[in-house]
Each structure stands twice: as C-alpha cells, then as structure tokens.
C-alpha cells in the first residue's frame, strides 16, 4: 500500500494574524509555523494504515524552504520520504494552482491512496484535495471521520450536516480528514533523529514539467483585493423578561426570525 500525504505549513492558530502593509497579505514575521492540524490527522492515518497493511508513506508539500520543517515533522512521525516542491514560481498560488503542482508531483510517485487535510487553516479553502484528485483522474471522498481500507477499496465515513454517509471508492483514491479521525502521535526524539537522514526530494516547477505561468501567483484565478479585520461586535443586546420563560422565548424568537440561526 503506497500512501501519499499532502501537507502544508500554516501559521499556528494561536498566532496573532496581522495584515501586512499591502493590505492584501499577512505579516509573515513573528508567526509560529506548524503543520496544518488536519494534515497531522492525515499523516497519522497514513501511518496507521501502513502499520496495518505494510507499504510506504510519502509526504508531499509545496512551499518555501521553511516548509521543509513540516515535511521533517511528518518524517519524524514515521513517514518514509518527502517531496518538496520549492520554487518561487510555486508561491502565492490559489488552491487550484497549488493542486496542479501537487498533482504533478504525485504523478511521479507510486500511490494507491492519497490523504490530505479537508482544508488548510490559513485560507480555509476546502479545495486542494478534490482538485488534486480531479487532476489525477481518481475519486475522492471529503471530510472523513473514519476510514477503512478494504480489498482494493476505501470505505469512508463522511460527515455531513446531521449525520454521516458511508461512501466507498475503488483505489487509487483520495480522502480528506475530519477531526475525530484519530489522535496524532508525537514526533519522538529518535524519530526526529531518523528523520534527518530520510530523503526529501526537492523539485522545481520545471522539474514537474509545468508552465510557470499557470501556477503560483501567476496562475491565480482567485485574487485577493483586500484583507480586513472582522467588524467589531455590536454592543450586547440584553434580553429582558418578567420570567425566565419569557426571556427564553424572546431569545429564541430573535435567533429564529432576526439572526436566522434556528
């Protein structure tokens, strides 16, 4: 079973996110960079499948030099090798542009199963997994909270509003992770030592046979015009009521008819 895991380095969700001077990007200094938490689930799931079925786990990432830290983390957790697409032309892409690069990188690898996070917690796009599968011409199942590898198939519990749908797809296939899938392991100290010696293949856009004009910032179709902070919350509206029941009813009425949340 050859498993490929797609990983991304993102700002830790605890980091203070500040808008840069151009108004369109974030300040990259003073940020703690970590592996996208949904990708951690993907690495863990891949390792568990490998432990049960044998095979190999290859982690693939697109990003600057620093992104190699995330590949090393995955290798320290137990992945076997890494592929790092490190090319200025690959930077600043939208999900589609990034998926093109990832698909091209995966194409050169043997794979039966691809696992990745349902989204990266930076731009929250929910797109890369599905797009990679499309470019590779394989099925995908998104937002998976439980996965079983059967004979030549994958069976996934996909979370939807109000329930779960169990979906099967023949391998090779791709699925994206949902919290609850597993509890990712720690990278152990010996694991980190071993990871230093594990291979990371570095590729450029040219190595992948891609046209630089179609990827990275140049290939972007979704263009960020401006970033801003969320609007300040309005002052609290205290809901009166002669009795708790009256206040409760009024609250529910507001949530139902004004906020439209119920």
């Amino acid at each position: 079973m050859n498993i490929v895991v797609l990983v991304k380095q993102v700002p830790d969700t605890e980091s203070l996110v500040q808008i840069a001077a151009d108004g369109k990007s974030i300040k990259k200094d003073d940020i703690k960079w970590v592996m996208n938490p949904y990708d951690e689930l993907a690495v863990e799931e891949a390792l568990r499948i490998k432990e049960a079925k044998g095979g190999s786990v290859t982690v693939v990432s697109v990003g600057p030099q620093k992104a190699q830290e995330t590949l090393r983390t995955a290798l320290a957790m137990g992945a076997d090798k890494g592929v790092h697409v490190n090319d200025p032309a690959a930077e600043g892409g939208d999900p589609l542009a990034t998926a093109k690069i990832l698909a091209a990188a995966v194409k050169g690898l043997p794979y039966d199963l691809i696992i990745c996070g349902q989204r990266a917690v930076d731009e929250d796009n929910y797109q890369v997994g599905a797009a990679v599968a499309e470019f590779l011409g394989i099925p995908h199942i998104s937002i998976v909270a439980k996965a079983e590898v059967l004979d030549g198939r994958i069976r996934c519990h996909r979370s939807i509003e109000g329930g779960t749908v169990v979906v099967e797809a023949p391998l090779p296939a791709l699925f994206t992770t949902q919290r609850g899938l597993n509890e990712p392991r720690y990278a152990s100290l010996p694991g980190i030592m071993k990871a230093k010696k594990k291979p990371i293949e570095v590729k450029t856009i040219a190595d992948l046979g891609l046209d630089p004009a179609t990827v990275g910032a140049a290939g972007r179709k979704v263009v960020i015009q401006a970033l801003r902070l969320p609007p300040e919350r309005k002052a609290v509206r205290m809901i009166p009521g002669d009795t708790p029941a009256a206040a409760a009813e009024e609250l529910v009425r507001i949530l139902h008819t004004e906020a439209k949340l119920i």
């Binding site: 830790d12 720690y186 010996p190």
Partner: protein, 549 residues
C-alpha cells in the same frame, strides 16, 4: 520500563544563550581541530526562543567573539543607537540622574529581543550540525551506578493523562547519554536543584537570590512622543517599589515602532501583599511612562526570573560528567543589569573545556576543572568580581544602599563589608496581610491589561490533559498557616494567575491551580515562604510562545 538510549558526546540541556553559544563554540572548535563531536541540545519550549525573555540590552562582546560577522549573518538587533537616561521616580514626578554610573554605560551594546536572538543562535547552531530538539524537556539527570557521575539526561514522557496513565498517543521519554552534559537551564532550574541536593554543588556558597521581571512589547503610534525622546534606553528606580524593595523599570526602543517595557522586582521583598504584576501596572501609569506609551497596544507579555546573586552565589561549576553555565551558574552581572553576554561567554568557556577534556579522555570534575580556571582568567571574572557585593547593597533599606554602593564604587567592589551576605528570598516575607493602600491600577484591555490578558498575550499553552507540573507537597498548609500568616502570597507573586484561592463551602479557603497559565518564570518556587511549591517540567512543548520578547 526499557527506554530508548541515544548517545552523544555532549548534551546541552536548555536552549538559552549560554547553551546555544556553548554548542556553537564547541562545533566551531571541533571543526577547526578537525574533530568529530556529536552534539545535542534539548529545549522544553516548542521552539528555540519561545521561552526566552529578557530586557534586553546585550553587550555585544561575547557575540563578537563567537560570531565576528554577526551583522552580516543577519543577527536580529533591534536598536544600536543607545542613548541612556536614568530616572528616579516619585509617585508623580521624575528626576533624571545628572550622571550615569559607569556600569550603566551602554557603549558597544544593542537592544535585542532575546527570543528572536535565541532563535537566530539556534539556526546558527543547527547549521553547524548541532542536533536541536525543541519540545523536549529534561526531567531527570542520569547518573552512573555509583551515583556520583552525571551520564546524561532523561527527557519527559509525552501523552500522559492527568491521572498519570498513558494516553493513546503515549510517547515515552528517552535517555540521552553524553560524555559531558552541560546544564544551562536558566534561573532556578528543576534539574540543577536535584543535582545540587545529590552532589552538593551549592554547599558552602551563599544562597542564590532572584528578581522577577514582568515585561511587555508594546507597539506605539507613529506620532508617539517617544520617537522624539532624547533617550532610547530608559531605566528607572524609586516609584512604585520605593527604596526598600530592590528593582526598577526599563523602557527600550525596538524596531517597527515597538518598545520593550518592564519592571524588575527583587524577590527579597518583605510585604506579602506586594504583587509584582500590580507594581508593573503602577509603573506603567507613572506620568513619565504613561506619556511615552500613550496610544500604544501591548503585543506580547511575559515574565521571567533572573538569578541576581552574582559572584558569591556561583555554584561549583563542574562535577564528574557535567558543567553548569549561564543563569544556572549565576553568571549574571546585576550591576550592569546584564547577563546574556556573561551567559554566552560561560557557555563558550565550558565548550573549550569540554572539547579539551574529551580529547584527553578525562571527564571527571578534575578533568573539567579548566572551566573554572578559564572563567577566572576571563572578563567574566573581572565583571562579576567588581560587582560581587552590588546586589547585596541594593537589598539594604532606604538610603543605606547608597552608602554601600558608594563605598564599593571607590574600592573596586569591596565596600564596607566583603563578602556581604545574601539570604534566601522565600524567607524574607514578614507576617501580616494589611491590604494595599493604593487603589488597583486601571486596565483598558489594550495598553493596560490585566493578568489573564497578559497570560493570553504570552501565548502560553500546555496540554491540558497531563499531570499538574506544580507539586504542592502539603496542600493543607496552603489553607491554614500560609493563608493565616500571609494570605496566600502565591496568588500575588505569580504573574500568571496560576494560583487562586477560592472560598469553599463553610467559608474555608480552597486552593485552585491553573497550571496551564504557567509562564515558567519560577517565581513561585523561589518566593514561597514554606518551600511548598516544587516546579517540575510539564510536557515538552508547553509553556509560553514568546516571539518578540
């Protein structure tokens, strides 16, 4: 349990400036000599620099020796145009000292963020081939069968639940074995404490004394009057601590419209109702400071102790198989308010000694004696020896301190009494619990923030499901004698609101611990009058997330 063992030539415990400089120097020397040394450095923070907090004005001396082309290598210096102003504060006014004490001259110095600086040193060390492991805490020193020779360090288990049982992601710690282990844990290390008990490295020395600093990095508006101030480095004494409690304030200019603002409080204070955090807020509200920081916003906050005892509190520097560097070994020069350069230098001298000793194959205390000898011959000695009674003089009440300081000034540090004694900070508290007279300082959530907001801005984070890392052997004492005598000073001296006293049923006080607020400053272990708080290392990776402090 069988633990995995990894062998290195040298293991550095702690990723502060002392050990980073030591690891770098060791690799440099080995390279020059064409020798192979396997070096490993562990750090409990999730990233190198994430637990590093200091003022900080760095004397560039040690850095220039270690990495002469530091500027070309992009060393992150915040400010090199240092213009000093020292002020004595009264509650509403200030007086500028017309004359700068020689030790306060900052020629050849730079303002840095220690956090950034350490991250940079860490990258330099890694480039030289040091195996750096952030997120791994040393929890126990390892000894040979005889129990006298240090053989390495054990890292903490990860994935242990609050109930002490392993969780599904349990990852046992490993034994890092080394010919020499270098301990640079910073002030009040939890390993050196145990080593001290076992091997007596503190016996015959004066007790170490500490100060706690609360510090913020504040972003100021572009039109802040501070940008026109004639001073880029401001130190204050007097208000709010007065002359009976040692300590003082600082305000340094940094890059990107930021400043570093902090208050250092000597932990030999006597009033159990004193709260360093509150004093810090009062300091910020002083007109001199408030006017300069108006319109600002706190970006990051943190707290850390510093080991201020100086020369006479320096422990035995080497034992069989181990050496001690930096604040762990009392290298700070309290007279100059600086300890990073001496810490780095101590690490470098230790590295020279260790490489020698490995070459000669003698890793006993005797074989490592060269460290103390090198230190004796270095500028660390001349700095620290001159300042040997300085901190003790500062601890004197009122104006007496100035008599001592004056005498020391003209006698090369000897003064009236040499050596002047230090005493344990925890014993300084006097019984009593009169409420503080001054009203609580105001907070606004942006520039003036309460403790919990400060904890938030420290970025501190711990795995919640783990055993409490603060060991309180006698919790009954907390709600009886300590409450009755001092009204639980832990609830005040801790800058992270880790300790809270609640009223339980029947009006009885109840201690509530919030260990995940912990800033790893160690004030609690130092200042607890009953020595009833033992700080142990939480799961590696936990603790503050400093990036600009």
């Amino acid at each position: 349990m069988e633990r995995e063992q990894l062998e290195f030539d040298v293991v550095f415990v702690g990723g502060g400036p002392a050990n980073l400089a030591g690891a770098i120097h060791l690799k440099q020397l080995a390279q020059k000599a064409g020798r192979e040394v396997e070096v490993c450095l562990i750090e409990k923070a999730e990233a190198i620099g994430a637990h590093s907090l200091s003022g900080a004005v760095l004397d560039l001396k040690a850095l220039a020796e270690l990495i002469p082309d530091y500027a070309a290598r992009g060393c992150p210096l915040e400010e090199t145009d240092l213009r000093d102003g020292v002020f004595y504060l009264t509650p509403r006014k200030q007086v500028r000292l017309p004359y700068l004490p020689p030790a306060m001259h900052n020629t050849g110095c730079a303002v840095i963020s220690l956090s950034k600086f350490c991250a940079w040193l860490g990258a330099a060390a890694e480039e030289l081939g040091v195996n750096i492991f952030p997120g791994f805490a040393g929890v126990e020193a390892l000894y040979d069968a005889g129990g006298r020779r240090v053989t390495g360090v054990r890292t903490g288990d990860k994935g242990v639940g609050k109930d002490g049982k392993p969780k599904s992601n349990h990852e046992p710690g490993v034994d890092l074995l080394a010919k020499v282990t270098v301990f640079g844990e910073g002030p009040k290390g939890s390993l050196i404490r145990e080593i001290g008990k076992k091997l007596g490295i503190f016996s015959g020395k004066m007790p170490q004394v500490y100060e706690t600093a609360v510090k913020e990095v504040i972003e100021l508006p572009a039109d802040s009057p501070f940008w026109d101030s004639p001073f880029t480095v401001i130190h204050t004494f007097g208000y709010p601590l007065g002359l009976d409690t040692k300590g003082g304030g600082f305000l340094y200019r940094m890059k990107e419209r930021r400043i570093s603002l902090g208050l250092v409080v000597g932990l030999d204070y006597e009033d159990p109702m004193l709260e360093p955090y509150r004093e810090f807020l009062r300091f910020k509200h002083h007109p001199l400071i408030a006017d300069l920081i108006r319109g600002g916003k706190v970006l990051q906050q943190g707290a850390k102790t510093l080991a201020a005892g100086g020369w006479y509190t320096m422990p035995q520097l080497a034992v069989d198989g181990a050496v001690f560097v930096g604040d762990s070994a009392s290298m700070l020069n309290v007279q100059r308010l600086k300890g990073i350069h001496t810490a780095m230098k101590s690490g470098m001298l230790a590295a020279e000694t260790v490489l020698d000793a490995i070459g000669k194959g003698d890793l006993s205390a005797a074989g490592l004696r060269g460290y103390a000898a090198r230190l004796e011959a270095s500028w660390i000695r001349s700095e620290l020896y001159t300042a040997r009674n300085f901190g003790q003089a500062l601890s004197r009440k009122g104006l007496f301190k100035f008599l001592h300081l004056g005498a020391q000034q003209v006698s090369g540090g000897r003064g009236f009494i040499d050596p002047m004694k230090t005493s344990e900070d925890g014993a300084a508290l006097k019984a009593g619990h009169a409420a503080a007279a001054a009203p609580a300082p105001e907070v606004d959530g942006t520039l003036y923030i309460d403790k919990l907001t400060g904890v938030y801005l420290s970025g501190t984070q711990h795995e919640e499901d783990q055993p409490c890392h603060l060991v309180i052997p006698d919790t009954e004492l907390c709600v009886t004698r300590c409450w009755e005598t001092y009204r639980s000073p832990c609830t005040r001296f801790c800058p992270g609101q880790v300790y809270e006293m609640e009223t339980a049923e029947g009006g009885r006080p109840r201690l509530k611990l919030n260990p995940s607020n912990c800033l790893h400053c160690k004030t609690c272990e130092i200042k607890d009058p009953f020595k009833n708080i033992i700080w142990t290392c939480p799961e590696g990776g936990g603790g503050p997330g400093y990036t600009i402090t």
